[in-house]
């Protein structure tokens, strides 16, 4: 019984948070990854108000308002210019905001954990039917109910709410009818953020406040919005109750499975009922991921122009061959790691920049490759070929499964499905302690032995590792390069540009997307298989869905319209990161700002602009 109350409390907090996420997704079509960060910001503001003014109740009033206003500012300055672009840019922007918000919090409040002193009115508990019930829980449940009522009132009874609903159902008509869609968008985002802030106030009563604890809340919220249905508060409420109780009761009675069960439910809904229990489907248009280039670089999109010439590619490889001779030892190590993640990013971008599929599930495939090879090396064989083959089979298998289940949905739903799979996969890795070592992961992975006929080479030293990785990554790169130059690669570009038209040329788009997904999966698996023995350890975080964000970041910085772009982005990211970390502790703020700047102003990335420059230079 006490657990049920706990579940209910958790559920109501999730409801307030998810209702905000739902408004933002339903009204603006924005998958707001920063929603968790806004939540935690709300908790910090509550802390600050309680601390300085000595009154929690003022915090209850001020925190949601502050967060709401902050949300409006975000929408107005950052999001508004991005609506016409592919949804990946708004997603990336909210990713960037997370980093920035975390560091703003760190600058203002430092990085130690905070707790809010519960006001006297809410402390203590009472007994009901022999159960001890904390007053704070009752308060949270009450606020949740009031929020539900308030939302019902706003959206059913006020003109503002009705107009908002009308707009979310059909933007163009609403625009034509003369409603100020843009201004109401800002208000809607503000309302969504306000609810996140309010959830933060509630959270501050129960949680220790620290940046990062919001990650779990964010994914639960995503699950809730999808399961309940976009645009439906009734659905959000019901789904919050389900998820809240599942997570609390499940945590008590089925600790191994509770997290996975929620994600299984999420996957089921996304596959079978993408509208959720009561919602509607998000309206979306196909917008190519690569922003239009204008006519400066007329030849830019000719397929060959998406690639380095064979000569320059070989030159890059040659440079990498001599690099360890010229660079300090530390850099040999770093470069090896960069090459692994470059392969990860490049194969991600085969899906993203070349086919137009934004997958958040790549970390699972990477993880599958990494874990399999580690387990093989630890338990079965030291022979690299065998371990590698097994790892390839498993990671490809994971790619096939995720691919088969996800390609039926397109655009934002595809993204959400792959993300759901990534969470599911992560929860399995995390909980399957006996096999994977859970959160601690596996360590002491023996260095592999390469057998060629009679000779054997053990890949032991950093230098050996470096050259080994270079060889494998270079081979992969040239294979991918060949594939992207082929008729098949051409079809992928067509799908990216205009999937409907591709179908009307007689090409079954889903089949090609699936093959692309599997190809990308194979090389992602290779990257994973290279990484684990090289690093010597692997832990659950490597397959966390947020890891899937990294290749997105690197691709965008390096340029998604070229094959080598994500590789360049990876190099840039690592070099920049190690530099920034050496000069400031607020590296997240700097990286986040860079990400936001790139998203807003330089969407073609380093190689994109380089290519444009070279081509306009050539043509003049």
């Amino acid at each position: 019984m006490a657990y049920v109350i706990n579940g209910l409390t958790f559920a109501m907090m999730l409801f307030v948070l998810s209702a905000g996420l739902n408004i933002i997704l339903g009204f603006l079509g924005v998958l707001n990854f920063a929603h968790g960060a806004l939540f935690i910001l709300g908790a910090y503001v509550t802390y600050a108000v309680t601390q300085t003014l000595g009154d929690f109740w003022l915090g209850l009033l001020i925190a949601p308002l502050v967060v709401g206003l902050f949300g409006m500012l975000i929408e107005f300055v950052f999001l508004r210019p991005l609506y016409k672009r592919h949804h990946v840019y708004t997603i990336l922007l909210t990713f960037g905001l997370i980093l920035v918000i975390y560091d703003i919090i760190k600058i203002i409040w430092g990085s130690d954990v905070k707790t809010v002193v519960t006001p006297p009115l809410l402390s203590g508990s009472f007994t009901l039917f022999g159960e001890i019930i904390p007053v704070a829980s009752v308060f949270i449940i009450l606020v949740g109910v009031l929020t539900a009522g308030g939302l019902w009132f706003i959206f059913k009874k006020t003109t503002f709410g009705k107009i908002l609903t009308a707009i979310s159902l059909d933007r163009e008509i609403a625009n034509a009818l003369g409603f100020n869609v843009a201004r109401r968008g800002t208000l809607a985002f503000g309302l969504g953020a306000l609810l996140a802030g309010l959830a933060g106030v509630l959270g501050s009563l129960k949680l220790s406040i620290a940046a990062g604890v919001d990650a779990e809340f964010l994914i639960y919220s995503f699950a809730i919005v999808v399961i309940g249905g976009v645009g439906s508060f009734r659905g959000t409420l019901l789904a919050s109750l389900i998820v809240g109780e599942m997570s609390v009761l499940g945590g008590v009675f089925l600790p191994e499975l509770s997290m996975s069960l929620i994600f299984v439910l999420l996957v089921v809904f996304l596959t079978l009922y993408p509208r959720g229990m009561f919602g509607r489907e998000i309206e979306q248009m196909h917008v190519p991921v690569v922003p239009y280039l204008g006519n400066v670089a007329t030849a830019f999109q000719r397929l060959s122009a998406t690639q380095l010439s064979l000569l320059s590619s070989l030159l890059v490889v040659a440079l990498l061959v001599v690099a360890p001779l010229a660079l300090p030892k530390y850099w040999t190590y770093l470069l090896a790691e960069i090459m692994v993640f470059a392969l990860f990013a490049i194969s991600f971008n085969v899906l993203f920049g070349f086919t137009g599929m934004l997958s958040f599930g790549q970390a699972s495939i990477f993880g599958a490759g990494a874990y399999t090879i580690s387990l093989m090396l630890i338990h079965v064989t030291g022979n690299w070929w065998l371990a590698f083959a097994a790892s390839l089979v498993i990671s490809t298998g994971v790619a096939v499964i995720i691919g088969l289940m996800s390609i039926h949905r397109s655009e934002i739903y595809f993204g959400m499905l792959t993300m759901a799979f990534a969470m599911l996969f992560y929860s399995i890795i995390y909980k399957w302690n006996s096999l994977t070592g859970g959160a601690d992961g596996l360590s002491g992975i023996p260095s592999p032995v390469l057998k060629f006929g009679f000779t054997e080479v053990e890949i032991l030293t950093p230098l050996a590792n470096y050259y080994f990785i270079l060889v494998v990554v270079a081979i992969c790169y040239f294979i991918l390069r060949t594939i992207m130059n082929s008729p098949f690669g051409q079809v992928l570009l067509a799908i990216r540009e205009n999937p409907t038209r591709t179908e009307f040329l007689g090409l079954p788009v889903k089949k090609y997307k699936f093959i692309a997904f599997v190809i990308a999966g194979v090389f992602t698996g290779v990257a994973g298989a290279l990484f684990a023995p090289f690093a010597g350890t692997i832990d659950a975080l490597a397959s966390h869905w947020s890891k899937s964000g990294e290749p997105i970041f690197m691709s965008l910085i390096g340029g998604i319209s070229t094959l080598i772009g994500p590789g360049v982005g990876t190099l840039f990211y690592y070099v920049l990161h190690s530099y920034i970390v050496s000069i400031t502790e607020y590296w997240q703020l700097v990286m986040g700002s860079i990400l936001i700047t790139v998203v807003m102003l330089f969407p073609m990335g380093i190689t994109g602009y380089a290519k444009k420059f070279i081509l306009s230079f050539k043509s003049s």
Binding site: Y292, T298, T482, F488, Q490, L493, N498, G506
Partner: protein, 249 residues
């Protein structure tokens, strides 16, 4: 034997019938026009044939074979090509690359992963042939979006021809063109029609053009087929006049 038969086809969106119990047939080598005021259901007519939507009721037969319910690629691969009212290209690819996708699809080359697409002579020849057919030979290397509107429409038609269709559906091939461009496009359509022997069904707002070139005319109004006959019949048909006058009023 007729190449296309539409049997009792109704297409409803919610309560509204965009097509209502339409019956008609197309004979080989016709140059058939489908006309009707805005919102009459012309585009829907094409969408139902090519599998963009599955008809709510009724059947569609192509060369005697039932095709409603098949997927879009399946229908296209039976030998139907279509162009779109609103330009629908691969915007950032070159003109040649736009056509090449269709050619690769038709020649069943699209699953080749290790062949360099720039070194496929047969494909290039075919692309060249089609570009010449639609008078875009000189623009092969230009990015599609930088073409003039008229040329983009021609490219549309070229793409629709890549699968050597027996039936070509052109949705307002002259929409948005000036008089001179319109005249050229009409010539082009007639030219393609004569050279390839393809059956063409097209929709068009410009009635002079329709009466000028088509062998037969279908008239749609509010989703219903209100007339079907030769140019002369249609010209003198009072219901057609009414339909059009009604729109102007």
């Amino acid at each position: 034997m007729e190449i296309l038969r539409i049997q009792d086809v109704t297409m409803s969106f919610g309560k509204m019938n965009a097509l209502h119990e339409v019956n008609c047939a197309v004979e080989p080598h016709e140059l058939l026009a489908v006309i009707g005021p805005n919102g009459a259901g012309k585009t829907t007519f094409f969408n139902v044939i090519t599998g963009k939507y599955k008809p709510s009721r009724g059947q569609v037969f192509f060369k005697g074979e039932r095709i409603d319910g098949l997927s879009r690629p399946q229908i296209i691969n039976k030998g139907i090509g279509r162009s779109f009212q609103v330009v629908n290209l691969f915007p950032d690819l070159t003109v040649a690359a736009n056509v090449r996708i269709g050619v690769l699809a038709h020649q069943k080359q699209t699953l080749r992963l290790f062949k360099n697409v720039d070194k496929m002579a047969e494909v290039d020849q075919e692309v060249e042939r089609i570009l010449d057919l639609v008078h875009l030979g000189d623009e092969a290397g230009v990015v599609a979006t930088t073409l003039s509107h008229g040329d983009q429409k021609c490219l549309e038609m070229g793409m629709a021809l890549t699968n050597h269709p027996a039936l070509l559906l052109l949705d307002e091939p002259t929409a948005g063109m000036g008089p001179e461009e319109t005249r050229q496009s009409i010539e082009l359509i007639k030219d393609v029609w004569r050279k390839t022997g393809v059956t063409i069904v097209f929709t068009e707002h410009d009635l002079d053009m329709v009466f000028n070139i088509s062998t037969r005319v279908l008239v749609l109004q509010s989703g219903k087929l209100i007339a079907d006959g030769s140019v002369k019949d249609i010209r003198n048909n009072p219901r057609v006049k009414e339909a059009y006058l009604g729109e102007e009023a």
